[in-house]
Structure formats: C-alpha cells, structure tokens
Symmetry: C2
Subunit: 149 residues, 2 copies
DNA sequence: TTGAAAAGGATGTAGTTACATTTAATGTAT
DNA sequence: ATACATTAAATGTAACTACATCCTTTTCAA
C-alpha cells in the first residue's frame, strides 16, 4: 500500500513533498518496530543507539560529546541517557585523565552481552523484513544522502 | 556527504541496514528543519500536522479518531494537541450530533490563515531545498512504500 | 429492557525531551 | 599570574509523549 492510501491523502503539491511525508511516515512506522524490539530488553531507542556507538569505540572510551556528535537523534539528552544505562550497569563512567571536564564512557561486559543478544533479534528482524535488494538499498541511500545536501 | 561520513561509521552489516540508519538520520535532519520553520509561528510539528488534516477535511469536521488515524506520528496524544490548538483559537471543538461520544473538530478562520502563512514558508523552503527531481522523488516514494510492506 | 461489552475521548502519571542555566576545568590574551 | 572567554558535562524546569485508566455513550445479545 502506498503512502497516499496509508494516510488517506489523495493530493500532494509535488512528488517531492509527497516523498517528504512518506519519509516521516516510514520513519514512524520503523520506530514502532524498533520500540517493540527493544522493549523486552528494557531499552529505549536512544539507549540502544548510545550502546551501539560505545561498542563501535570499544575498548576505547567515548566522551559525552562524541556520543552527542554521533547520535542519530541529536536532540536527545545524552547525559541522562547515560545515567539510565549506568543504573542498569551497562556502561561505566570515568573521569577523563587528559581533560578533567570530560567524562570517558565505556560499555561494560553486561552491555556488550546485552547488545549481542539484541543483535540476533535485529538480524532476524532485518532478515524477515528485508524488503529491499542490495541494489535498491543503494539507490535509497543515494537519494536520502541527496536530500540532506 | 554520505551517511557513513555524517555519523562516522565506516562499516554497516548490509546496504539495507545502512539504509535504515540513513532513514532515521535523514528524518531527524528533516525534523530539525521543520521545527525551526514552525517555531516562529508558535506551532509544534504535531500541531501543524493536525491543522493540515483539519484543513484537508474543511469545511467538514474531523473526529478525534479520524485525526489519530491520519497523523503521521501515531504515538502522540491527539486530545492534548487539540487542547493547545483550541487555546490558541486555531480550532473549535463541538460535540458531534450523531454520536455524543464523539467530538467534531473544526479548523477556525485563524487556523486557516495561519496555515496559509505557513504554506508560503513551506513552499519556499521546499523550493530552495528541493534536492530531488520528480523522477527521483518518485523512485524514493516507491522504495519507502516497499520498506513498509 | 437491561446488562455486558465496546467505542470515543479525556485525564492521571511516569518517563523523556528541549532548552536554559550552572558548575567546573581549560584556554587565552594581557 | 590574572581575568575573561570557552568548553564539557550535569542539572532544573516546563512541556510533551506513552501508556493505562476512567467516564460517558452506544451497541448488541439475551
């Protein structure tokens, strides 16, 4: 079913503005999938994203600023997301030696093993719902990159 | 600049999962643009969306359920968004005659004229940042529709 | 017709986000 | 060295979201 039927809007002022609406709608659709995927693991989407960035850096630490810089959703509040992850024992905070203003954040063993559990879920979700071929995905990536000029 | 450079992630497990990340990132990029577009008019994005749906129905009313059904972001709380719009005089609530459980929501004259102001802004933004051709937009629409199978 | 179930919407609440402010550490120009 | 600006992160707060619950009205079966 196309976007026009999904949101029951027949007319759009242009193909481009239809694509913009479609992007927002598809993102929201995707987000709902992700939320229900992460929920059984007690994680929110921003928490999951932070954990993945930390794993990308592991065993090196990340400062809070680096996390903010790389987060997909720039608007969320990194400090407090890290609070939550720390409460759950998934990350560890240490004062940075070189710059005592900065905080080094590490992913813990628990964090790594939780992520690897989640990887399985993610992979099987992506496998099942992999609706685009590699070629199509490549085109989608190019078009999305182009939107952001 | 591609998504890989933007979020400084070199490797993705597949083109598809890269496209998923790209979708989320592009949506967030777009959302920031929209927020700063709506802000001078004192509107949030969900408020703007509700107003647009109401205008689409105008002069017919919309029930709250219809609004929920068509909102791009299903998760937000329609009742309270309508509260805000009503406070600002942009919409009018009336009890529905046929079904006294239901509420008919109308867009007011003020709402219509605010939207037409915003249309100008939106159009000029889309004109300036129209980064895709019609053909490209069409392809993007197809690919996004396909993701949501 | 009456009582249970369902539907439409509002509301309470806990948790999150957005944004401004604060605190502490570092950089920099005099 | 000292004062001022800048940076990193945390925090206070108001607003918003997600989700459950509630209230009223409608539907429908017995």
């Amino acid at each position: 079913m196309g976007i026009a039927e999904d949101i029951k809007q027949k007319k759009f002022s242009s193909e481009f503005s239809k694509a913009i609406v479609n992007l927002i709608y598809t993102n929201s659709w995707l987000n709902q999938k992700h939320v229900s995927l992460f929920k059984p693991f007690g994680l929110t989407t921003p928490q999951f994203n932070i954990l993945r960035i930390l794993r990308g850096q592991h065993p090196e630490p990340s400062t809070v600023n680096l996390l903010i810089d790389r987060m997909l959703d720039k608007s969320s509040n990194a400090s407090r997301i890290i609070d939550k992850l720390e409460e759950k024992g998934l990350v560890i905070r240490k004062q940075c030696k070189d710059d005592r203003r900065a905080v080094d954040v590490f992913i813990s063993e628990e964090g790594l093993s939780l992520l690897s559990e989640l990887d399985k879920e993610m992979d099987s979700w992506e496998e099942n719902s992999k609706s685009l071929t590699d070629e199509e995905s490549k085109i989608l990536n190019q078009l999305l990159d182009k939107i952001r000029i």
